[in-house]
């Protein structure tokens, strides 16, 4: 169901092309992709829409190749990303020799007979997307609730005894319920059993519990992907501010502990410690709501501990290797990775924002440059900083080059010849000097 799949070099030669559906040739949409995305440095997001087609692409910066796949916009194909990655890997491995040894002549003279491999990969990708195992419901043991120890449930001191007793009863009865019932059942099934027995308050509390847990997981996942790192001081300040509870689960920013997890292991330690303390400290405010969130904070603390522990030894190792890595990076060829580029790009982004470039645009620009440089092999005696700076400079020059001819006098002569007025419009916000300049002109 793909319209086409093209592999071409950055120099412009099409190495291999697959026309799936009998349709118009691939050149026009791909040219549009190149001109509007790659040359305008909008390469952060890897898909592009052109008329009725959606184009997804991937750059190989080591061998200077571009992989583009096009399919109809109305279709939502889930296997496309994976397909591109697989094709990229396979193509690169298969023709590695040609790229490395012969350079441009290799590209020109080589025959890239990739059709069979591609059809195989396409079939695999299509099959993997069709076959989806029916989602099995989690057993109680698999769910998180079973992993909460009794200890953390008891920590709630100073709470209304009614709530405490009720919730304890909840947990205990839930556990009993599932032990009795052999069939796997979600925690909510257990809830529902109890809701008949309990009153309305219990039901809503459990629902809130579920909702909070889901939201927490969502936030945790999202924070793990984004590597936006607020300053450590700001993070501490946010933590110590008195919390405001509207409905308990709406103000995502205040409740977003997960930002600290992305600061690196150094940041995680303080966060782990003060979560339970803070939870205990604030429980005088709204004890009822607090109980749910304490669960989550403890939950989060436990999981953070689990997550951070494996990463800590790797950071220690990185400290030693970093010294040699610096020297290694200076001499010899090594390929750029995201981790190398991130600190430099952060600095560049801050610099751009300080110079009055809109934050969103600065982010997109840095993303695009990162995509362009990922996997590129650096020459000898070039540092990461210099490479990234050079690439960013080139990208900015490229964007700022005028796309069309700017020759006012020439156009004026043309207009005079055709007896047409040549119109020059002065536009801008108030106060920049339009009338002043106009008077001078």
């Amino acid at each position: 169901m793909l319209d086409f799949f093209t592999i071409f070099s950055k120099g412009g030669l099409v190495l291999w092309c697959f026309q799936g559906v009998r349709g118009p040739a691939a050149t026009a949409p791909v040219n549009a992709l190149i001109r509007s995305v790659l040359l305008q440095e909008r390469g952060g997001n890897n898909s592009f829409t052109h008329e009725a087609l959606t184009l997804k692409y991937k750059l190989d910066n080591q061998f200077e190749l571009v992989f583009v796949v096009g399919f109809q916009k109305i279709l939502t194909l889930t296997y496309v990303d994976k397909l591109i990655d697989d094709v990229h890997k396979e193509f690169r491995d298969k023709y590695r020799n040609e790229f490395q040894q012969k350079g441009a002549l290799g590209l020109l003279n080589g025959t890239f007979d990739f059709k069979d491999d591609f059809m195989r990969l396409l079939r695999d990708a299509e099959e993997s997307s069709k076959v989806r195992a029916p989602t099995v419901m989690k057993t109680f043991e698999q769910s998180l609730k079973s992993q909460k120890t009794v200890k953390c449930m008891i920590e709630t001191r100073g709470e209304k005894p009614k709530e405490k007793v009720k919730n304890k009863k909840n947990k205990g009865s839930k556990k009993d319920g599932t032990e009795a019932v052999a069939a796997p059942s979600k925690a909510s099934a257990g809830d529902k059993q109890l809701s008949a027995a309990g009153d309305k308050e219990e039901l809503t509390k459990d629902e809130i519990l579920q909702k909070n847990r889901e939201e927490f997981f969502r936030r945790h996942m999202k924070a793990g992907e984004k590597s936006r790192s607020p300053k450590p001081d700001a993070q501490k300040e946010k933590g110590k501010k008195p919390r405001v509870w509207d409905l308990g689960n709406s103000n995502a920013k205040v409740l977003d502990y997960s930002n600290s997890a992305t600061n690196g292991s150094a940041e995680a330690c303080p966060v782990e410690e003060f979560d339970p303390d803070m939870a205990l400290g604030d429980k005088n405010r709204e004890p009822g709501r607090l109980y749910d969130l304490e669960y989550e904070s403890d939950d989060e603390a436990e999981e953070e501990k689990v997550v951070q522990n494996p990463s800590k030894p790797s950071v220690k190792k990185g400290g030693l290797g970093g010294m040699f890595g610096m020297l290694k990076g200076l001499v010899g060829s090594k390929s750029l990775t995201r981790e190398d580029m991130d600190p430099v790009l952060e600095k560049m982004k801050d610099h751009l924002i300080a110079k009055n470039v809109a934050a969103e645009i600065a982010v997109q620009l840095c993303e695009s440059v990162a995509k362009k440089l990922e996997g590129k092999v650096m020459g000898t005696f070039t540092t990461v900083t210099s490479t990234v700076k050079q690439a960013l400079q080139e990208a900015l020059v490229q964007i700022l080059q005028p796309q069309r001819r700017v020759d006012v006098l020439r156009d004026v002569m043309d207009a005079q010849r055709h007896r047409r007025p040549y119109v020059v419009t002065f536009c801008g916000v108030n106060g920049v000097g339009k009338s002043t300049n106009l008077a001078k002109v």
Partner: protein, 256 residues
Amino acid sequence: MAGGLEPHLEALRRELRGPAVLSVLIALIAVAITFLIWRFVQGRRSSRKAVLLLGLCDAGKTLLFARLLSGRYRDTQTSITDSSAVYRLSHDKSTNVTLIDLPGHESLRLQFLERFKAAARAIVFVVDSVAFQREVKDVAEFLYQVLVDSTVLRNAPALLIACNKQDVTMAKSAKLIQQQLEKELNTLRVTRSAAPTSLDGSATGGPAQLGKKGKDFDFSQLPMKVEFVECSARGSKGEEGEADLEGLEKWLVKVA
């Protein structure tokens, strides 16, 4: 003891002063001379063995590049970076030139021209003969930018204007293209000399004057040899047939 050592030290010092210092000086001079010779040879060897393929977007540069080097037709897309390869002239196996295909897109062309202009022994400016009428001004502007460049004026590489896409019936002839370009460049001389100077200060003392002042612009007024050639990278028989590149190849032999 100290008294006994001193005359020894004096003798040593005297010995070392004479020949040792001299030998050190000679060594340094030898190193310096070697270095200079090496730089000179490098400069000679790498200077100007390249033939650049310039032109607007979609003029057919990459296809021309592919045809010259491999003889086969290849599909092409808009180039984002340059590609270079060594081109062996068919009769004479010893001489070879490096063909460099530069991207024609507006945001990239000047950047790449800056990088490769110093190494250019000859420039092939590819013109799309079919779309020429529409694009006259853009073609002329790019050509003007190439011609007034200080490095190009200094080195004066041979210039060939290849009128590509002659296999299409609506293609304009080389003569017509030459006349139109001359007229357009004539006008551009006037308008560009009045244009504001660029911020990087590359044009020291204002933009260079193209051709002779009083007379109309003519390609013969340029310091370099200019020729016009018709060619067709696709070839009259379509993708399978041979490309019509005779004039181009003859010129390359002459230039190399």
